[in-house]
Every structure is written in structure tokens, then in C-alpha cells.
């Protein structure tokens, strides 16, 4: 047994020695062995003089939330692909490693340990679920590995004040109030019925919407959470009885679109509004013509407002054959911001490879990063300093909606709770 083991070690050594040789038949054998040694074949490629820098994503790639997780992954992947040439000039090979966190906290934490253990990874773009992001970022913090979230809007994420945890998306306590202000001041509505999806995200936005709405004098007629995915009529019956002016839905389009459709089918005429979870072309294909006249808030500049967005959307479509969604845009910006920071850190160090702590610090130092979702500067907690919120209205049964109002909102300073 030992002998066999030894022999295999010798073979592997030989294989490792032959790593830089190019030979296609040999290549196949190399793949098998590189599995054994965990080193990516790319690492050995000749032009990598200073080593490899990797960007990881952690999102759900399997299971029900995989569609969104995949968009995040693709957005980040595009940013990495584009930055490859720039990094090559600096002498580094840039690699992209997607992880599937299965939307499960324990899987996310295990992946996080794995990510932290790979010294080449200098940036994590993730997660989708705040429930996974919170415990995983505890792990990243131990080595100050920078995490930039494209989707976690829960206030707790940055309110812990970790130096390595950032986000490029909005906060629940900003987006919710923005929606409420628009409803009260611009639409001049009087009553609202709030529904949320009982997730960290949906309920977070809904709570903040409710609090602000109350302050602005909107009457909250109902506040319900639901995990339902198909049949909303039990919710709609009491809603219809109270006859609100506005229905606010805190959640994602796959529920929101269906809810809206069923609301209209059952003759509810109230205005419909939701957060950036509804910012997706799927919203239109699910709700169909029912989508007309509904509103959503988002930080992602719609394509017709930003020429850059249109260009980006085209690129995305070319690369992946899919329509880009807002999560893809955020992820592109998260990765882009992180990569810019890494580049700056490399330059500051005179071309040397930065440490994780240096990258984390550099991310906070980036000023006015020109992203697809706006100009991003992070504050001391890792929130975008000033966020421009767009309120959009679906005027036709087509995505995206039309911008009807732009609200600028500052992130609240350290939130004491």
C-alpha cells in the first residue's frame, strides 16, 4: 500500500515538473493530476510572472434562487474578463472562481473558509442572501478579505462596521423610505397595504417603508408576510376588502409579478409598487399586461437614462446570450470597483502584490468609481455615500420602465440600535 502510494507521488511529481510544457495529449493527463493538486492549470501558464490574483463569487447557483445567483455570477465574470488584459500588463494573471453557496448559511460558511484558505483570492463578490452573507462575512473578516456585496440590502451587513465588508447596492432603510416618500409626496396616495416575502430582504424593505409611510401620514391598512409562491388569492381577499390606494410589495419579481397579476385578475385597482427586487425583465413576462402602471425603485440606472448602461447591456447579451438584470449590473460594479482598488493597490506598492488588508483599505479609498449603477464612493462603513434612486414606472408591458423621478438619498450615518 505504501509502495503504491510512493509510486503515485513520484508520478505526480513528474507530472508537476512537466506542467509548463505544452502538449495536448499530455494536457489531459495534467488535468487529472491538477485535480489532485488543486492548482489550476492556468496558474502555470508562462506569462504569469507575478502570480495569480483570483476573484471569487459566492451566490446560489443551484436551487430556487439560482436564477438571480447566476446573474450575479455573470456580472462579476464579465468584469473579470474585461480586466484580464489590464492585470496582465501589471504582471498578474486574473482568475475567476464561482462558488455555489446553495443559499444555505452553513454551505456559505464552509465555502468562505475555503476561499480564505486560498491566498490568491483577494476579493469576494457576494452574496445574494443576507442570511448567508452575515455568517460568511464573519469568516472573511478574520483575514480582512474584502467582500463587496451586489445584493445584500439588510442594514446589519455594514452596520457591524467591519473594515472589509462593503456593498454597492442600496440599504433597506434608504430604499424603503424613498418609495414611501414618492408614494406620499408625488402620487399623493392616502392608504397602503404592505406585503412582504418573509425574507431578510423583503421584510427589511417593507418594514422601513412602513415606518416612513406612517411618518408621512400614509395610513397602513395591512401588513402581511407570505412565503407563498403560486397562489396569492388568500392574501388578496382581505386586501380587496380594505380597498387601499397602494399595494407595496417587499420582495423579488418571481413572487411580485405573480402577485400583481393575480391582484389585477381579482379586480384590485390599487397602484402597485416595490423595491429593486422587481427590477427585472422577468417581471414583465410574468405579470404580462398587468404590469402597466406599476412602480419600482432602484439604484441601477435604466438603460435609457445612462448611455453606459446600454453599452453594458449589449456586451452582456453578446457574452452570455441573456438580457442583463439589475443584480448582474450591481455585481459588475462590485467586481469592477474591487478590481480598480486592487489595481490601485498594486500601483501604490510599486507593482507588488497587495495583501488582503491592503485591498480592503484600497476599496474604501476609491473615489467616484464610474459604475453602471451610478458613481460610487464608499463611506466608512462600506455603504455607498450617496445613492441616486430612480423611481420607474412600467408604462408599457416592456422592461425597463420609464424613469418618473430621481431621488437622492444619503446613507444614514452609523445606525444605533
Amino acid at each position: 500500500m505504501i509502495l503504491r502510494r510512493m509510486r503515485s507521488v513520484v508520478t505526480v511529481r513528474r507530472a508537476l515538473a512537466g506542467f509548463s510544457r505544452r502538449g495536448d495529449l499530455f494536457g489531459l493527463a495534467l488535468f487529472v493530476f491538477s485535480l489532485a493538486w488543486g492548482g489550476p492549470p492556468g496558474a502555470a501558464d508562462a506569462w504569469a510572472q507575478k502570480g495569480v490574483i483570483k476573484v471569487a463569487t459566492q451566490t446560489p447557483l443551484s436551487g430556487e434562487q439560482a436564477a438571480i445567483g447566476e446573474h450575479i455570477k455573470l456580472g462579476a465574470q464579465l468584469a473579470v474578463d474585461e480586466a484580464r488584459g489590464r492585470f496582465q500588463k501589471l504582471g498578474f494573471t486574473l482568475d475567476f472562481v464561482p462558488y455555489d453557496d446553495q443559499a444555505k448559511p452553513e454551505v456559505g460558511v464552509a465555502n468562505a473558509r475555503n476561499i480564505v484558505a486560498d491566498p490568491d483570492i483577494l476579493l469576494v463578490v457576494g452574496h445574494f442572501n443576507s442570511g448567508v452573507a452575515l455568517p460568511s462575512s464573519e469568516v472573511y473578516r478574520e483575514s480582512l478579505l474584502a467582500m463587496i456585496s451586489p445584493a445584500n440590502t439588510a442594514t446589519q451587513i455594514t452596520d457591524r462596521g467591519y473594515p472589509n465588508v462593503n456593498r454597492v447596492c442600496g440599504r433597506d432603510d434608504v430604499q424603503g423610505p424613498v418609495g414611501a416618500r414618492f408614494a406620499a409626496e408625488d402620487l399623493k396616495l392616502k392608504t397602503v397595504y404592505i406585503i412582504h416575502d418573509k425574507t431578510l430582504y423583503g421584510q427589511g424593505v417593507a418594514d422601513n417603508f412602513r415606518d416612513e409611510a406612517k411618518k408621512l401620514g400614509l395610513k397602513v391598512l395591512g401588513y402581511e408576510g407570505t412565503e407563498e409562491r403560486a397562489n396569492f388569492s388568500p392574501l388578496i381577499i382581505p386586501l380587496r376588502a380594505r380597498n387601499p390606494d397602494l399595494v407595496y410589495f417587499g420582495g423579488i419579481y418571481n413572487q411580485g409579478g405573480l402577485l400583481l397579476k393575480q391582484l389585477r385578475e381579482r379586480g384590485v385597482k390599487a397602484t402597485f409598487m416595490g423595491p429593486d427586487g422587481l427590477d427585472s425583465s422577468e417581471m414583465v413576462s410574468i405579470a404580462g399586461p398587468a404590469v402597466i402602471g406599476s412602480y419600482y425603485t432602484t439604484v441601477a440606472g435604466p438603460i435609457d437614462a445612462y448611455p453606459r448602461s446600454a453599452e453594458f447591456a449589449k456586451k452582456f447579451k453578446q457574452h452570455f446570450g441573456k438580457q442583463v438584470e439589475s443584480f448582474g449590473m450591481y455585481a459588475y460594479d462590485a467586481a469592477g470597483l474591487g478590481l480598480t482598488a486592487i489595481e490601485q493597490a498594486i500601483r501604490e506598492l510599486g507593482g507588488k502584490r497587495p495583501t488582503r488588508a491592503q485591498v480592503s483599505a484600497a476599496i474604501r479609498k476609491v473615489k467616484n468609481y464610474q459604475g453602471i449603477t451610478g458613481t460610487i464612493t464608499l463611506d466608512g462603513k462600506g455603504d455607498p455615500v450617496k445613492t441616486k434612486y430612480f423611481v420607474l414606472k412600467f408604462e408599457k408591458s416592456a422592461y425597463p420602465g420609464k424613469v418618473v423621478r430621481v431621488i437622492e438619498q444619503e446613507a444614514p450615518a452609523a445606525h444605533k440600535k
Binding site: 447557483l61 484558505a117 431578510l200
Partner: protein, 421 residues
């Protein structure tokens, strides 16, 4: 002969650990090391040698590797957590023959017990602002969790044991769903669980040995210390559970359970207190799950109801059956195999495939010509299909080893009878 084997196994263990230390990024090296416990178990060794070797691996080598790469420890901790759950469920399903599809409920109860009181959450419904309780309270709560878990097990068991077979399964499933829905919804009218938003930050257990470390002049980074600490807590718990299970199994209680499993009516006729014994099985299993739940909460620092879904119950059940029902080694092995498969092996595989794809290498396939790997469409992203492969492996395992991967050597006949119920 025995000595030769001992030396061979020892050499294997040490060699693989050296390899894993040398190549911390390698999935296979780690796997070979993890297999060393299996080697220790399967090799024809004396009982004492086996124990010593296992102790060597678990107490020295694994932490030694873990200091170099805390990821190993994370895997080991999760394996331990699932092993404890599988052992608990093994008592209920494997020994007493009561199909429980809602085992995760007890795990959740333990986790939330510490989460609520070990975080500021309890302030939401108890006046005085005493919370979070300090990290020193963790261990009393571990004991409390055992008691609470056991009592819930009893409480559920009392009415429910009227129901048999698959009806019992569905009642336990319902119970677990009720528990999960309550956790998810009890943020109003009174905020007990903070609903889907979950609870954080949860205190980690006290480092009561910290002064001693300081005295010795050992300085350990918190990023390594806590995983190491949790690893030993989990290891101790699993060992304790193994010992308790073994003791119970070999006592009159264990024989009574097996009798009930084989034939309830016959057992009753022979004077086995059927109801009492069933309740005991429920309570013991629940207590184990609840205890490990507290550790899970403390380890994660954040928990919400998403960790306690029906799929987790099913996962643990799969571990028990894949390993081989009714045996301690089987439950341990099933938990280890499936956890490693899911968290490590499939991840490693997909990361590797991903890197192959990115390398843009062109491979020549016989008869098919050259193929540029980077041209594989994005839909084939390997990370997305880990679960598919996982499912396939489950089916194959069952087809080729329907009695479980590991049926105990001397008890094989017994295991077959157990499974044949």
C-alpha cells in the same frame, strides 16, 4: 501480522497528513487524509490500537492541519455536527425503527435556545437588559439544551406515538414544519425569534483556557483559535454521544429498542415497556440534536430559520441510511461521506473544471478533433450542477450498496435484519 498492519496504517496516516499539510489547496490530498479514519476502522487491528490511531488523527493531526488551513477545521466541524445529528437520528430510526422526518426541529430548538439568550434578542421580550448572557453561559446552556431537547422529544412523543409507520413520519414532518413556521413568524406580536431576519450576533463560548494560553506564552490568532476550539467541542460532543449510544445499545434499553423495531407486538408480549422505550428513543435522539444545535448557533454567530428546513431532515436521514442503519459507525461514516461529498468533493471538482475551462486549453479528443475548452457554453457551469451529481451519487450508492456503505463487520447479520424491517 497485526504489527505489520499497525505500522502500515500508521504510515498511511502520517504520510497523508504530511501531504495534506504540504499541499493545503489539494482536494485529493485532504481526501486521502480524511480516508485515513476509514482505513483505521477497516484495517484488522486490535481495538486498542485502533482507538489510539483514531485519537492520533482526530486529536493531533487534524488540528495540526487545521492550523495551516482552517478550512479543514470547518469541514471537520460540519462533519461533526452532522455526525451528531445522524447519531441522534440513528437511535430513533436505526435502533427503535421509528421513521422521523422532522428531526431538524430539535436541532432548531437547541440552536434557537442559545441564539435567543446568547444575543441581545432576549431583550426584546424580557425586561432588564441582561442580555446577551456572557460567553461563560454557553456551557450551562449546552446542558440546558440537552434537557429542553429531551423534554420536547417527550412532549412530541407522548401524543404522537399512537401513530405508526409512515403516519408517524408525516406527523414528525408536520411538527418540524410547525416549528420552522413558528420560528419564521414569531417576530410578532411579541418578537421572540426575530423571524426571517434571524438572530445575530450570537456569543461564542468562553475561552476559559485563555489565561492558561497566555501563561504559556502561546499566541493564537482568533481566526484559528475559534475554529480549533469549536472543533474540540464538537469532537468531545460526538465522542460523548458515541459512548452514550454504545452503552445504550448494549444495555437492556438497546435490546428493547431492537425488539420493538423487529416486531412491536412480540416485544410487548415479552414484557418490553413499548411506550416508555419509544419515548426514551425520541427523547435521547432529540437531546443529542438539541445539544449540537447550540454549538451550531454559536459557531455560525448568525442563524435564521433557513438552516432548519425539511431538506436538512432529509439530508440527515440520507446520512443514516447511506452509512448503514442501526450502527454507530454507519451513522458516523454516512455523515462524513455525504458532508465531504457536498461541501468539498463536488466543490473541488467544479472549481477544477472551472479553472480548466478558463485556461482556454485546446484538447484533442480521439475521433472528435480538437475542442477548445473555453467554448463550453455557460449553461454547463459545473458549480450549478453539484446537486444533480449529488443526487446521482445517492441513487448509485443505493443501487450498489443497499445495506449502506458501512455495515459493521461482526454485526452484519444484525444490520441486515435491522434494515429488512
Amino acid at each position: 501480522m497485526k504489527t505489520a498492519w499497525t505500522l502500515a496504517v500508521l504510515a498511511y496516516v502520517i504520510l497523508t497528513s504530511l501531504l495534506a499539510r504540504r499541499f493545503p489547496q489539494s482536494v485529493l490530498a485532504l481526501l486521502a487524509f480524511e480516508a485515513s479514519l476509514l482505513v483505521v476502522y477497516l484495517a484488522p487491528l486490535a481495538r486498542r490500537t485502533r482507538m489510539l490511531l483514531a485519537a492520533l488523527v482526530c486529536v493531533f493531526l487534524l488540528p495540526w492541519l487545521g492550523v495551516a488551513n482552517p478550512y479543514f477545521l470547518e469541514i471537520a466541524i460540519q462533519v461533526g455536527i452532522f455526525a451528531a445529528l445522524a447519531l441522534g437520528l440513528n437511535i430513533v430510526v436505526g435502533l427503535a425503527g421509528l421513521l422521523n422526518l422532522g428531526f431538524v426541529a430539535f436541532y432548531a430548538i437547541g440552536a434557537y435556545l442559545w441564539a435567543i439568550f446568547g444575543s441581545p434578542q432576549a431583550n426584546a421580550f424580557l425586561a432588564g437588559g441582561y442580555f446577551p448572557l456572557g460567553p461563560g453561559w454557553f456551557f450551562p446552556f449546552l446542558v440546558l439544551a440537552i434537557a429542553v431537547g429531551g423534554c420536547t422529544g417527550l412532549m412530541l412523543g407522548l401524543p404522537v406515538l399512537r401513530v405508526r409507520g409512515d403516519y408517524l413520519a408525516i406527523v414528525t414532518l408536520g411538527f418540524a414544519e410547525v416549528v420552522r413556521a413558528l420560528l419564521n413568524n414569531l417576530d410578532k406580536p411579541i418578537n421572540f425569534t426575530n423571524g426571517p431576519r434571524g438572530i445575530t450576533p450570537i456569543e461564542r463560548p468562553a475561552l476559559f483556557f485563555a489565561p492558561a494560553l497566555e501563561l504559556l506564552g502561546v499566541r493564537v490568532d482568533a481566526g484559528v483559535l475559534y475554529p480549533l476550539y469549536f472543533y474540540f467541542i464538537v469532537l468531545l460532543l460526538v465522542c460523548a454521544i458515541v459512548v452514550v449510544t454504545r452503552r445504550l445499545e448494549e444495555s437492556a434499553v438497546g435490546r428493547a429498542w431492537k425488539a420493538i423495531r423487529e416486531d412491536e407486538i412480540a416485544a410487548a408480549c415479552m414484557g418490553v415497556p413499548v411506550v416508555r422505550m419509544k419515548l426514551l428513543a425520541f427523547a435521547v435522539g432529540a437531546a443529542f440534536a438539541s445539544a449540537i444545535g447550540t454549538v451550531f448557533a454559536a459557531k455560525q454567530v448568525f442563524i435564521n430559520p433557513e438552516s432548519f428546513t425539511f431538506m436538512e431532515s432529509i439530508g440527515v436521514l440520507a446520512m443514516v441510511i447511506v452509512g448503514g442503519m442501526g450502527s454507530v459507525a454507519g451513522a458516523l461514516f454516512g455523515a462524513t461521506a455525504l458532508t465531504i461529498l457536498n461541501l468539498q468533493l463536488l466543490k473541488g471538482l467544479s472549481l477544477w473544471l472551472n479553472s480548466v475551462r478558463q485556461s482556454g486549453r485546446v484538447i484533442s479528443l480521439p475521433f472528435l478533433g480538437d475542442y477548445d475548452l473555453s467554448q463550453i457554453p455557460a449553461q454547463f457551469e459545473p458549480a450549478k450542477y453539484e446537486r444533480m451529481v449529488f443526487g446521482l451519487i445517492l441513487i448509485l450508492m443505493m443501487i450498489f450498496r443497499p445495506e449502506g456503505l458501512l455495515t459493521p463487520r461482526k454485526k452484519r447479520a444484525d444490520g441486515r435484519a435491522a434494515a429488512g424491517n
